[in-house]
Subunit: 334 residues, 2 copies
């Protein structure tokens, strides 16, 4: 099995590559080759199979990124929400034309690769009071969401034509992101957990009753792997799926933080930010995801597990990456 990860240098891409290296197989087939592609050259995980690391621009995707014989393409490359809102042309170029470039590359091959595309709940509107079912329409309230929804349409049509075999996963807000705050409008959702666990302050731009549809990096990785070998036949023309995330309020998140590390939630400062509040305020906070369940996507564990996952897997590495002094026993904070 030959696999490509586009956007491999992001935190999800790195987790996915590490997981593939550890698993050595996918859907019961041995992995023979992995290509990692991003703007900055990704670093290869230690693996039993060859890993090619390529740097380049998605809109000038080299043929080597999706070579002949590729079975699976994970597309995690994107200009995130606040960045696409700040720079319209950049968002269109990467998030829409990049998708066209992937379609063009896959179309060259005799066997259509499975493309696992990371779409987003940001492609929906509705806001705090919405509970969206599988038939909900996408009426995005931000350019990132519009570009993701348009990409879904192109990938769906390319699948129908046999250029590739796409599955679009509408990811919840991924929490807890390791590393540093980023340009995603949802960055604060991770920051209010991650920063206090590092002993650092974090800004909260919304109220405590603000609810978010979230998923942990581990759940998202599991879903990406499930989507890679899922039989797409029963999906028909509709190749996008809302995933079984978790609807959680900021208050509940802070309570889980406090129970993991008493006193930590006092590091969260209330700093209203109308620009962020406007973007994230339009995203729906809850979904009913029956189709995902029928398609075998695993349900999400409760939020306290998500905090534990971050502490166990990413807290020490984040501390090191950011040059912060190591703590005594990270796993012991709970």
């Amino acid at each position: 099995m030959q696999i490509t990860i586009l956007g491999a240098d992001g935190f999800l891409g790195r987790k996915l590559a590490a997981r593939l290296a550890r698993d050595k197989q996918l859907g019961g087939r041995l992995i023979e080759r992995l290509v990692l592609f991003d703007i900055a050259q990704p670093s290869a995980p230690v693996a039993a199979f060859p890993v090619a690391c390529l740097a380049g621009d998605l809109t000038a995707l080299p043929a080597a990124a999706i070579p002949a014989g590729t079975d699976i393409v994970f597309d995690l490359a994107a200009v995130v929400s606040a960045a696409a809102e700040a720079d319209y042309d950049l968002g269109i170029t990467v998030n829409l034309h990049g998708t066209e470039r992937i379609i063009a590359a896959c179309r060259q091959h005799s066997k259509p690769p499975r493309v696992v595309f990371t779409s987003s709940v940001a492609s929906f509107g509705g806001g705090q009071n919405a509970v969206l079912g599988d038939d909900a329409r996408q009426i995005p309230a931000n350019s990132y969401g519009a570009e993701k929804a348009a990409s879904e349409l192109l990938l769906q049509d390319a699948s129908r034509r046999g250029f590739l075999d796409a599955l679009s996963l509408r990811l919840p807000t991924v929490v807890v992101r390791p590393g540093r705050p980023n340009q995603a409008a949802s960055s604060f959702v991770s920051a209010i957990i991650r920063e206090p666990l590092l002993g650092l302050p974090a800004d909260l731009p919304v109220s405590e009753d603000f609810a978010v549809w979230v998923a942990s990096p581990r759940s998202v990785t599991d879903w990406l792997l499930h989507a890679a070998t899922l039989d797409s036949g029963p999906m028909g023309l509709d190749r996008a799926v809302n995933l079984p995330g978790l609807s959680v309020s900021v208050g509940e998140m802070l309570a889980a933080l406090e129970s993991a590390k008493p006193g930590a939630s006092s590091l969260v400062r209330r700093v209203t930010d109308p620009r962020i509040a406007e973007i994230v305020g339009s995203w729906p906070a809850a979904f009913v995801t029956e189709r995902a369940s029928r398609l075998g996507f695993a349900p999400h564990p409760p939020f306290r597990e998500l905090v534990r996952e971050f502490i166990a897997e990413d807290l020490a590495a984040t501390r090191a990456e950011r040059g912060l002094p190591a703590a005594g026993n990270e796993n012991g904070v709970a």
Copy 2:
């Protein structure tokens, strides 16, 4: 008021230009200038205001096509359904990148022009048994429909950003088209009325109980004009609207033809065409269009009116255009 029609050389574009020339005003404001743009240079109608006729490619839209001060852009330019299905790259280039080009042009101006975009029921799936409400999702089963739905998303987002002020009209199949059969998969729906009225045979690629969601050129022109000056405020982010067309079976259409010109329906030959049947078979045949009614789009007259409209307005011209001998009294056929 300054107006541009893109795709002005098509039959709807010509009807719209003629109507604007006749009306002299739009929404109570005098028309000061009209720009007609198409691949082939459009011909100007006799008008009380200046009309500029430009030829060019939509994806290399000259600045003169949407000059500063433009109030309204009617976008009727498209690669039609069967053509977009036959040539994927051409469809993407014109139907998607063309939309991006229009957005880029409008964005240059200080006052965002109203863009009336012609989307299509072909952006929906569902097929013969579907009755779609205003909240129906677009799951297109053809590339043309996917490109139209993706364009709607881009125009909606560009409206939210203030680059322009778009309204996307999801046109029913327009019947009776004058002129010649074209590459639209729905071409037969007009042909089975038009050709027998010209004394010519026509092929019917589907069964008589096959139902279609249709609208006459006059209704479509009325809707385009209504959309041009409609207050978009109450529409919120959702700038696309399903129009109040007519659900009619081929059998009902042939009965209306027969009552307009006895014996004419015997010129319709049953010739199955799986390629056409597959494309049009996926289009929904009925809608419930409450939102369009609330927004003031006029309801459609019954199908026999639609046949009368063609006989009164287009039959003689079609006869002349195609070099067929003139009939004695076209209006007398009924």
